[in-house]
């Protein structure tokens, strides 16, 4: 039988033990090296991607023995990003799309990297338009632009063949896209055309497709305020187009709950004939979603009525919460991992070689973040290692420089994309959706966000 005192002693012992266990777990991490957690793979990457990264990690750690690089799974999505930021579980180095860099800057959520970038000596090498994306109102630089892309029309060559279409002659107008989608749906039973609908990506791709028809979704008043103009003829046309593909042609399949990850997964699995997204998605499709390269085709998005092609990109940044020592290591890593392969022949070749040997994509079409000259030079360095089927992407690589590039609208980009998700969902899930009324309402709602 236990007396109150022995119970008290047992309780205290238990508390002391819990305390000392907690202390143990902290001490175990200290091995003299600085641990740097860096964003690398999207969730679900295959073993080859890990092998390729392991090789790069080894090379880096040989050059920088005081830094222990830890690759962390990371995929940028608006909701999880904010949750990770709030919860303090972001990697030390991660990437964010251009669209969010402005918001993050305004919220003081990015680390000032001006001195570090100046010291590395290539501030003037960047494409100035792109450098603008990471420059705050105070003129300081908050990240390294590492990659840019234009949106393109991605198509499944195998489904084209099954439907009796020529995969080497992809559609060049929206009407041709519609006709091809209908044929694919009828002949193969798969979705001929699909578009993203959720998690802000519905709004993003609606904006891509409306811009290609000449839309201007927002006016920059030049004094820090913006006027929402989503209710315009090109957006209306786009929504009507999606509505007709869905309800008249029945060529969009039965799944209207798609975001960046799930649409890529469906496309890689051969369930979607065509869709629009960034031109740089090939790597993810093949590496992370297991698509066979033979099936892949890429061409430019049709542009009509003075429309342009929406571009974007991402920047490598440092978490705002790290200490000075980690920050320095983070910059060293960004320079080594992302930038040197664009600037330095040896680094470019080593990177391309490592990726090619691990069966990873080399040569995916992107837009230059550095000046055109440096970019073309770097493409020559790695010419021997390019392993993506560039001849299946000629529709894009030959057409993209003739299209007018358009930037994403600046005011409240992601929140307004979230509102626009509903427009896409409405026309795809409700045959009688009142497009005029929806458009009228969205400008009111978007303006309310812009006026905040």
């Amino acid at each position: 039988m236990k007396s109150p005192h022995s119970i008290a002693i047992a309780g205290l012992t238990a508390l002391v033990m819990v305390g000392s266990l907690a202390a143990c777990s902290q001490a175990a991490e200290d091995d003299g090296k600085l641990e740097l957690r860096v964003a690398t793979f999207p969730p679900g990457a295959d073993q080859a991607a890990y092998d390729a990264f392991a090789e790069q990690e080894k090379q880096f750690e040989e050059e920088h023995p005081d830094i222990d690089v830890v690759g962390v799974e990371y995929e940028w999505t608006a909701p999880t990003f904010a949750a990770q930021l709030a919860g303090g579980s972001l990697p030390d180095v991660f990437t964010v799309p251009f669209t969010d860099s402005k918001t993050l800057l305004e919220n003081d959520q990015l680390m000032d990297l001006t001195d570090e970038i100046e010291e590395l000596g290539y501030t003037d090498k960047f494409n100035p338009v792109i450098l603008n994306e990471v420059t705050g109102d105070d003129g300081k630089l908050y990240g390294f632009p590492r990659q840019a892309y234009a949106n393109g029309l991605h198509y499944n060559r195998e489904l084209f063949e099954q439907a009796g279409l020529d995969p080497d002659q992809p559609p060049t107008t929206w009407d041709e896209v519609r006709a091809a989608a209908k044929t694919i749906a009828e002949k193969t039973g798969k979705a001929g055309y699909a578009t993203m609908t959720t998690g802000n990506t519905g709004g993003w791709q609606l904006s891509v497709q409306a811009d290609s028809r000449g839309a201007e979704l927002q006016t920059d008043n030049g004094d820090g305020t913006y006027t929402s103009t989503i209710d315009n003829e090109a957006t209306r046309e786009t929504l009507q187009y999606l509505h007709d593909l869905r309800w008249e042609d029945n060529s969009m399949g039965a799944n209207f709950d798609l975001d960046w990850g799930s649409i890529n997964q469906e496309f890689a699995a051969g369930n979607i004939g065509m869709y629009t997204t960034g031109s740089d998605v090939y790597t993810a499709l093949v590496r992370d979603f297991g698509m066979s390269p033979d099936q892949y085709g890429l061409t430019v998005i049709p542009t009509e009525d003075g429309g342009g092609v929406l571009g974007g990109g991402d920047i490598a940044v440092v978490a705002p919460t790290v200490d000075e020592e980690t920050k320095a290591a983070a910059v060293t890593w960004i320079d080594w991992y992302y930038m040197q392969k664009l600037l330095n022949e040896d680094a470019a070749v080593a990177d391309a070689k490592a990726l090619a040997e691990a069966d990873q994509a080399v040569g995916t079409p992107v837009l230059p973040v550095l000046d055109q000259e440096t970019y073309l030079e770097s493409q020559e360095w790695i010419a021997d290692y390019i392993n993506v089927p560039l001849d299946q992407m000629t529709g894009f690589t030959e057409g993209i420089f003739e299209q007018t590039p358009v930037g994403e609208f600046k005011g409240q980009t992601q929140p307004i994309y979230a509102l626009m998700d509903n427009l896409v969902q409405a026309v795809l899930t409700d045959e009688n959706a009142d497009i005029d009324a929806l458009l009228k309402q969205i400008d009111v709602d978007a303006q309310a966000l812009l006026d905040e």
Binding site: G11, L15, T80, A82, L85, Q109, A254, D257, N422, T429
Partner: protein, 328 residues
């Protein structure tokens, strides 16, 4: 060692002495002093309770207090928070989506009440009538509760697939019904969520009702049988009145739970299509994590606080109103 005092002490964990401590009655002193508290086992009680108090304080009450504070602030958790008074509440109340979310939540609660509330009672009554294999039925009924909710939702998402080759649509095809859009239409999305939620939640309620049914004195049934009552009259006149107390509790618990529905709309539809399944909790989530990269944590906590206060008042009013009926 005074065995008799230990149970007394255990029922008064935070220190007040037992109502009639043996020693107090012997000396005629009833006053509480630190010495009597220690002698009464107060110290060991406190030490015994300390881990739980710490865990509750740090992980439960700390965040609650912090979120109340945050509802009056503008913060992105990186820069220092700024006090904004009632601004967050005003902005939340002015949001056109709030009305949509409240109506959707009420709609979910209503559907859940219609389908989800009577079903477990019915099943429990039926199962209590079964003579053999009772354990098997209980296990089967409880199985969905054991499946992790996220897994269950993802599984049902496959069932609900909108094409003709979806699991449910295939079954419907056998009896000649055309494929249904399930989650892909504003009209059917919410009922589809309720169906899954009912499936997932019924098992827990069934176990509670089964336990309550065991407590119904068999003599009452015997007496009813003597009076010539059939099975329905027995259920109506004996079972349900005997379950009254537990039914009232389960009802308010369900109302509270359905007001906080989040998992199903979040995982099934993300609030779509076109906001048809946007619920209050999903709206709170959007304030905090989606609508703005900075995160409107202040607005999110303001709405949470309003919901908590509303549910608190509702529960209080409910218990006041039903006080007389729920106790016999």
């Amino acid at each position: 060692m005074t065995m008799t005092r230990e149970p007394d002490a255990a029922t008064a964990p935070d220190g007040p002495p037992p109502a009639t401590p043996p020693r107090a009655s012997a000396t005629g002193r009833r006053r509480r002093t630190p010495i009597t508290w220690v002698r009464g086992g107060g110290l060991s009680n406190l030490v015994f309770l300390a881990p739980m108090l710490i865990v509750f304080g740090v992980f439960s009450w700390g965040p609650i207090v912090q979120s109340v504070v945050m509802s009056f602030q503008k913060t992105n958790l990186i820069t220092p928070p700024a006090w904004v008074g009632l601004d967050n509440f005003a902005r939340v109340l002015a949001d056109p989506n709030l009305g949509v979310a409240v109506l959707n939540t009420l709609y979910f609660a209503l559907l859940a009440l219609l389908f989800g509330f009577p079903l477990p009672i019915l099943l429990a009554v039926m199962m209590s009538e079964v003579r053999r294999g009772k354990g098997l039925y209980s296990a089967l009924a409880y199985l969905p509760v054991v499946i992790p909710p996220v897994v269950a939702v993802l599984l049902w998402k496959v069932f609900y697939s909108g094409g003709a080759d979806g699991v449910f649509n295939t079954v419907l095809g056998w009896v000649g019904i055309p494929p249904q859009p399930w989650l892909q239409s504003s009209a059917t999305a919410m009922p589809s969520l309720v169906l899954e939620a009912t499936w997932a939640g019924a098992g827990g309620s069934i176990i509670v009702y089964l336990a309550a049914l065991i407590a119904v004195p068999p003599e009452l049934y015997d007496a009813a049988e003597v009076d010539g009552a059939g099975i329905w009259r027995k259920i109506w006149h004996v079972t349900l009145p005997q379950l009254r107390g537990i039914l009232f509790i389960m009802l308010i618990l369900q109302i509270i739970a359905t007001s906080q529905v989040f998992l199903e709309p979040f995982l099934f539809t993300g609030g779509g299509p076109n906001n048809a399944t946007l619920t209050i909790l999903l709206l709170i989530y959007r304030y905090a994590f989606q609508n703005s990269l900075g995160g409107d944590y202040g607005e999110a906590t303001a709405l949470s606080l309003m919901l908590a206060i509303f549910l608190g008042l509702l529960s209080w009013a409910y218990f006041k109103l039903t006080e007389r009926w729920s106790t016999n």
